[in-house]
Symmetry: D2
Subunit: 169 residues, 4 copies
């Protein structure tokens, strides 16, 4: 079983430009992270884009969707900025029914030493192997179904929708 | 759902004694690693022992077994030295049938910067949430059933027994 | 002999705000860096401000000058953003003649793992102990007199003025 | 001015062998450390040996001495295990009078993340540029003359001999 990893950028892959003192994207660190994790799974890493998810356009999301559809693997991990991860998950879930797709990201860039990225990558590859077909978001050790998650902007954490969306009867 | 984490030592938790230039155990880094991973799962971390798995006695293994039996949680991750991980897994599997137990470890100590520990911890917590009752070893992104794995001492990797143990009929 | 360390901010001390994805200042990492370097010198660390040196006003620079004048130590290291380090050095040199003052900084924040900060701090404390009274800039292992240095904005490096300022006669 | 750097091993350059769980030497990290420090000094790095200083023989020390004598540079930094650093310094001081030689080392291997090596390398290169001819030991931000230093085995720190060696008259 090969797992496809689609890279789209996000905090995961941001770096520090030491001449300009700014954050930017160069190339993905996913292969380096897999090496650090001594990962022995068969994976195929493809970079689709390297952008902040706040800059992601409808066309970018279509690109991700088409890439998932065309993939011969039925287990896919997507690295993605956290800000619009739920939106992309929803688009994928509308069209794709027979693949296990895990979206994941990081709160701190991998290169900054104190990153949660390696932990999230480890979890996501495990969820990709074990969960039934569906679209999920994996962050902070947890895994949420695409239709039961939101990002809490105050805490930066993903949480279940049902915890706060209970409608009065 | 709370996940129990039993700490037994192993490379995971080794540190460098700068006065004596030797490796030693102080206390577990699992809580620090969970914090780095921004883990939001409910976990309960208990240190059972802090030893090299080559030094693990039959009594130590009994201690691990009894701790698993007494645990109120039915999903358990055990950090363990890799050298005798398979042996402990076998002992647990003989007696425990209704819990999901994941044994994991690391090739390089967490404190040494280039460790695979955070990746393995992330994977193990995901496998603990998703796999049915049974005893498993999770290393390098993979998860093996206790009765279908061995450590390849040359490569340091865990691999499936059936790949090399097929006997001619 | 005690060495005074004045902290003014700069790249040295920038951190990553994981909720907003931006760089910001919290508190200085100089004490943590001295601990990492197992520094056994007597030092007295004082934070004067925590700002980007591009935001440094004339009043801020006066504050640094007055602090140096009031210091009872005659050996001083100042951590400072690199962009206007030369300007501050010039102001200090105009008024202070009997102290050894070393300005230093970093190209990458200490917290980002790949920082030059610890190397520069080590060099600066050594230069502060050994150079005669005067105002210097210490970066990249080198030490420049305040009146013979400029920051090359293309390369990010400090270099001697005389290398490029020789006018044809 | 070029600074010669002679590498002899020591804790500085130790690595972790993940198959055997032991510390060992592969190749020096000094060039990588100079790169991390964005060092712009002209340096020439030569590896003389890669050993623990407790294993250093008289012949090894002769090798270091002859290498210093043959060097065309008169400013030299030597990376060295801390246990017998004072002994080597003494041998060098007996024969060499016209070079500035700085011996330095680390309490924790550079590869282990929490190393003092980068700080010590920064200091040593600064001391090498500024101190008069002589043989010195640079550790923990301090610089000691070869004939006024010992390693305190309890604390792991280098300290001046005169602090403890005052004999009653």
């Amino acid at each position: 079983m090969t797992i496809k990893i689609f890279v789209t950028g996000g905090t995961f892959d941001k770096e520090y430009n030491e001449l300009r003192g700014e954050l930017f994207f160069k190339r993905t660190h996913v292969p380096e992270m897999l090496k650090l994790g001594r990962c022995k799974l068969e994976v195929d890493v493809r970079t689709l884009m390297m952008i902040d998810s706040l800059c992601m356009t409808e066309a970018d999301r279509r690109n991700i969707l088409e890439s998932c559809k065309r993939a011969t693997e039925d287990r896919i991990v997507i690295t993605h900025g956290t800000d619009t991860m739920v939106e992309t998950a929803k688009l994928l879930a509308d069209s794709i029914k027979d693949e296990t797709i895990i979206l994941t990201g990081a709160m701190v860039p991998y290169k900054f030493g104190s990153s949660d990225g390696l932990f999230n990558l480890g979890s996501s590859l495990a969820f990709a192997q074990t969960l039934p077909a569906g679209v999920y978001i994996s962050m902070n050790g947890k895994c949420f179904r695409w239709d039961n998650v939101r990002k809490n902007k105050k805490t930066g954490e993903f949480e279940e929708r049902q915890h706060y969306a209970r409608k009065p009867s």
